[in-house]
Subunit: 342 residues, 2 copies
DNA sequence: CTGAAAGCGCTTACAG
DNA sequence: CTGAAAGCGCTTACAG
């Protein structure tokens, strides 16, 4: 038992005195096999506790029904929802999912991608780490004829499928909502501007100001305020300035918005009456703060499903429309109490 | 380019007019190879964009440095933290992680386990689905000489490594804390009693009542109150009863505790003065409700690391102490405002 | 419908 | 240090 090897197709063949190829055919449910033989093989395989060796099978067949996923952080709501969505679709197709996290580090992202290339996965699905670097590793994926799908944080120059949120439009609508609620001095907490999604969100903010005939004021835009702590710091500065804002759009995340809310509460500033707050991501907690926080839902689970479906569609369709390489999902503004003062 | 095959060890060998075995040795950094040859091979491999085929290598070596993980839900805080912890350790060891989710369904759990056996993973790490069934699939894992580590929700009868929380002790301490705060009628929201962790938590509750000389009252124990909605329902009933409780221990989850808090708030019942509330899991939101919710932290990330280390320790040590097959992690009571009335 | 043979891409004793 | 050969466990043309 201890050093016993797993039973192979040959063990079954030997036991039944037939050829290994027949066993293989019986097991793979081929039509070119006698029904009686097939039944016997199946029965014997079960008795001998046979389980196929997927490595051998995949090697021989030259394909590996496995998709590699590289995300910055597995345990972040957005990404774990993406993974859950992916898994739901790939499971039904009999695909496995290999998960890696870059921890927002470029070097680690490169490592993960290389490991996945070695694994001969059929597809790599990736959201780029915050610490950016050259993207030869992604070009490598393509060179090795592995499909590549980028999502959320993508490298524009690379000609791959991209599934993104329409960050600009979502931000635009969020800011217009603030304007409609009568806020006049709307501040922006920005994320690192070398990351595309944060640039887009800023663009949406600027467009909404222009559209509303509001001035664009440098002093109302705070860089790199993308954690709760940094959001709180930026807020403290904003609120202490001679002309403080009457609304803050924490475009980076709900965590940042939470920082804003805590500082406002500490200072006894009424939300939403004296200060409107809007976050980004629709983290579960935004519903239960007091007041609840207006935010933007990214449909992360369904985004995961969309990504996976894109791969299978691309695999299965003959003339997949190359024009539709970028799928943009429109996020939804969720209006809650933190901005409802009318 | 389009139908080009990936370069193999043979392509390199041919180009350099040496044997494939030498290429293999050079690539695997063997000592039995001339330094000059090795350098040449490495250079050529890079030029030819060579990447090893892990399937072939693993098949030949008869081992697959991959760990399969089966969890009920990937996108639940506890589990995604476990996975993050696992990944941190396995990444450093050069192992891959294949992730599956059972969606709390037994049939799907069986599917996942079988797929992982086929993959010849080295180890399967699992937390059992809520919908329980026979566990032959787990016995199969053992029969196929794959290591099995159970965590959190485990099957007791199976002789495998188990990494669990000391649920009983944690519940015991939580209830003693409620007693110390002067609460006299402490209700329990239970989870399904066929799941071990929920039985253990109930046991801790009962022990604490006995220890405190409190009566055990059936009318204060509510079955299957393990979601926010069910928690809210149970709470409404409890608070409408002739002798309502003055504290509720939502032993199932913080979500359940949140349901309690919402009902209490709706009814205008002061928390913690008139009603104490304690949850379980230390979900991020417990910190930011008003009042913040007392709960129990399960150290999920470090639990993930512990699990992974257990595997590697078992692999590497010669005489691993078989006695230590169950690792019990003591969760920590986090006292917050929802129970602090003294 | 069945069998014998080749081969997926690698690694590793075995000689030299 | 290097090469020729065998084999990991499977699948698939090729004959029959």
């Amino acid at each position: 038992m201890k050093s016993q090897k797993r039973t192979t197709i040959y063990d079954i063949a030997q036991k039944l005195s037939i050829a290994a190829s027949s066993v293989s055919r019986a097991l793979s449910n081929s039509t070119k096999v006698n029904a009686a033989t097939k039944a016997l093989v199946l029965k014997t395989a079960a008795e001998m506790n046979y389980q196929q060796n997927a490595m051998a099978s995949n090697l021989r067949k030259g394909n590996n029904p496995t998709i590699g996923v590289v995300v910055p952080m597995i345990n972040q709501n957005f990404f774990s929802n993406i993974i859950a969505g992916l898994e739901e679709v790939t499971y039904k197709k009999g695909y496995n999912l290999i998960i890696c996290q870059s921890n927002e580090l470029h070097a680690r992202e490169v490592d993960c991608v290389n490991a996945l290339i070695n694994q001969h996965v059929s597809c790599i699905i990736i959201s780029i780490a915050a610490e950016m670097g050259p993207h030869q590793h992604l070009q490598q994926v393509l060179d090795h004829r592995i499909r590549l799908i980028q999502f959320d944080r993508v490298v524009d120059e690379l000609d791959t499928f991209k599934v993104i949120n329409d960050n600009e439009q979502a931000s635009y609508e969020a800011v217009l909502h603030l304007v409609a609620q009568g806020y006049k001095r709307i501040a922006l907490l920005e994320g690192p501007q070398d990351i595309d999604i944060f640039r887009q969100r800023k663009e949406g903010y600027l467009n909404a100001l222009r559209k509303s005939g509001f001035p664009i004021l440098e002093e109302l835009m705070c860089e790199n305020a993308w954690t709760k702590e940094l959001g709180a710091e930026a807020t403290a500065q904003l609120l202490n300035s001679p002309e403080p804002p009457d609304a803050i759009f924490a475009s980076t995340s709900d965590f940042s918005a939470l920082g804003v809310l805590e500082v406002a509460t500490d200072k006894g500033i009424a939300v939403p009456e004296a200060l409107g707050i809007c976050g980004y991501s629709n983290e579960p907690f935004t519903e239960i703060t007091s007041p609840s926080i207006t935010t933007i839902d990214q449909y992360s689970i369904s985004m995961g499903k969309t990504i996976a479906n894109l791969y299978f569609q691309d695999m299965e369709e003959f003339d997949f429309n190359v024009e539709t390489k970028v799928v943009s999902i429109k996020p939804k503004l969720i209006v809650r109490k933190s901005t409802s003062r009318i």
